[in-house]
């Protein structure tokens, strides 16, 4: 017998709401299967199970919000007979708690991410409702079985849910602008339509708590350097010309790989500061800051970037961005980044000095690539230039090691063919 608990999906999570069970009692599950969809302040997360067995009992019903560590379901592991549903709750002593997160990356999970066809929804039976619509349905307490979808391929949209609730459709919140939460509720509002949870405000609260903790606890130091990107961009253009559209690379992939390899050279940048000491990480899981379209951000990890090919990193990044956009992430990738990258290139600024995600010890920032005069070999020419920065934790490393780390990134980007 094993317990399936509400996982801790990052340092900033205290509780989660079970949005949906993807399994029922009697279903066989194997390690790495997605068994439930959980809503947190920051995202909707597909929770994987890390043990093989048969679901015996669902303890927490859909729609209930419970603290991290709460028993969600009971699993009969291999060889055990599945007890009838009415059997008394097994004694705790018989259980081995299933550790969900932060779990070490597992080959099956990585393999599954890589093998997943890019355009296929992760859970086919949920393909006809967007995560946003599901979230709104939870907030408005609408039974999705009664909602008729009008979206592409009959998908249930946010508007469909709001229509079913009898609530006036609210306009989609403009990016990065707080949704209005004040003002009297319309008198004619039907009883079923409760005040929606303001996810934007909830996410700001989570970000506020984590960033304030970072600035309170971590003595940041900052370094920056300009990197000539002509070799990297030239190589990328030629490479993409050879590749079909489905296999083309974005330059962020080169940055990810360079950071991961540099983290191997300077291990003080890669790991965690826990209980007054630095714990280096052998694996390099690179967190990527991705802005959420409705506002806020999240930094899920791409696992083992140092050991992946550029094509594999690209596939992981595409898959990750797609699921962040849709608001659905997996438990294994949300909790265990060992170093984080923020790239504000798409937003048009040239430099960024970020705030470290505790308990990590380094954050690398990349600005927009701009054409600049560049002196080399007594000649001045126009080159694509990018500003790279490092925010380092002074408890774990000094500026000298940080400088070597940034220099290593610069050197690696001059030999893109070796990445």
């Amino acid at each position: 017998m094993a317990d399936f608990l509400m996982p801790s999906l990052g340092a900033d999570m205290e509780a989660g709401t079970v949005l949906q069970w993807l399994v029922k009692p009697g279903d066989a599950v194997k390690r790495g299967d997605i068994v439930a969809v959980v809503d947190t302040e920051k995202a909707t997360i597909e929770v994987e199970i890390f043990q093989t067995g048969v679901i015996q009992k669902i303890v927490v019903p859909e729609g209930e919000k419970v603290p991290v560590g709460t028993l969600l379901a009971v699993l009969a592991v291999d060889g055990e007979a599945v007890a009838a549903a009415h059997e008394a709750k097994p004694k705790p002593a018989e259980h081995a708690p299933v550790v969900l997160a932060p779990a070490p990356p597992t080959p099956p999970a990585v393999a599954r991410v890589m093998a997943k066809p890019m355009l296929k929804p992760a859970a086919p039976h949920r393909a006809r409702i967007s995560p946003l619509a599901m979230r709104v349905a939870m907030e408005l307490k609408v039974d999705l079985a009664t909602v008729k979808g009008t979206g592409p391929e009959g998908a249930i949209t946010k508007a469909d849910v709001e229509r079913a609730a009898g609530a006036p459709p609210t306009p989609a919140p403009a990016p990065r602008v707080a949704a209005p939460i004040e003002g009297p509720a319309p008198a004619a509002r039907p009883k079923a339509a409760v005040a929606p949870i303001d996810h934007h405000a909830a996410m700001r609260k989570v970000i506020a708590a984590l960033m304030a903790r970072s600035k309170r606890e971590i003595p940041h130091y900052y370094l920056g350097t300009h990197i000539d990107m002509s070799k990297a961009m030239g190589w990328l253009q030629a490479e993409n010309f050879k590749r079909p559209v489905t296999e083309r690379l974005l330059y962020s992939v080169l940055l990810l790989k360079a950071v991961a390899l540099a983290a191997h050279e300077i291990p003080e940048m890669n790991g965690f500061w826990i209980d007054g000491a630095f714990e280096p990480s052998e694996a390099v899981h690179v967190g990527v800051v991705i802005s959420i379209r409705q506002g806020g951000l999240i930094a899920p990890a791409i696992h083992d970037v140092d050991r992946k090919s550029l094509s594999e990193i690209m596939a992981s990044l595409r898959d990750l961005v797609k699921r962040v956009r849709a608001g659905v992430l997996r438990s294994s990738e949300i909790a265990d980044a060992t170093i984080t990258i923020t790239s504000l290139g798409d937003e048009g600024v040239e430099s960024v000095f970020g705030v470290i995600y505790p308990p990590q010890v380094a954050l690398v920032g990349f600005g927009k690539i701009v054409e600049r005069p560049w002196a080399s070999g007594a000649m001045v020419g126009a080159r694509p230039v990018m500003m790279a920065s490092l925010s380092g934790d002074h408890r774990a490393s000094d500026g000298h090691r940080g400088a070597l780390f940034l220099t290593a990134i610069e050197r690696l980007l001059q030999e893109p063919e070796n990445l």
Binding site: P131, L132, P152, K158, A172, P244, V245, R248
Partner: protein
């Protein structure tokens, strides 16, 4: 493919990329990078879906020509006729 089929395909993928955007409010003439804040990854995903459905290979240099709904329809016409 007819214009309507191209539009439907484009909008379906847009819905996947940006589920919170009301498709009926999209201005077909305006660049989606400005209109709804699409980034390079989103544009690449659009190009991939169009390629996989139509078989048209879209060189990287042509991405800017297909970043609005009208632009995409016109571009695919020019490539298939």
């Amino acid at each position: 493919m007819t214009d309507d089929e191209i539009k439907a395909l484009f909008l379906r993928e847009l819905h996947r990329i940006a589920p919170e955007v009301e498709l009926s409010e999209i201005d077909p003439a305006v660049d989606l990078r400005e209109q709804i804040d699409l980034d390079s990854m989103d544009i690449l995903n659009l190009a991939i879906v169009i390629h996989e459905t139509t078989g048209v290979d879209i060189p990287e240099a042509d991405y800017p020509r297909m970043t609005s709904l009208n632009g995409c329809v016109a571009y695919l016409h020019s490539r298939t006729s």
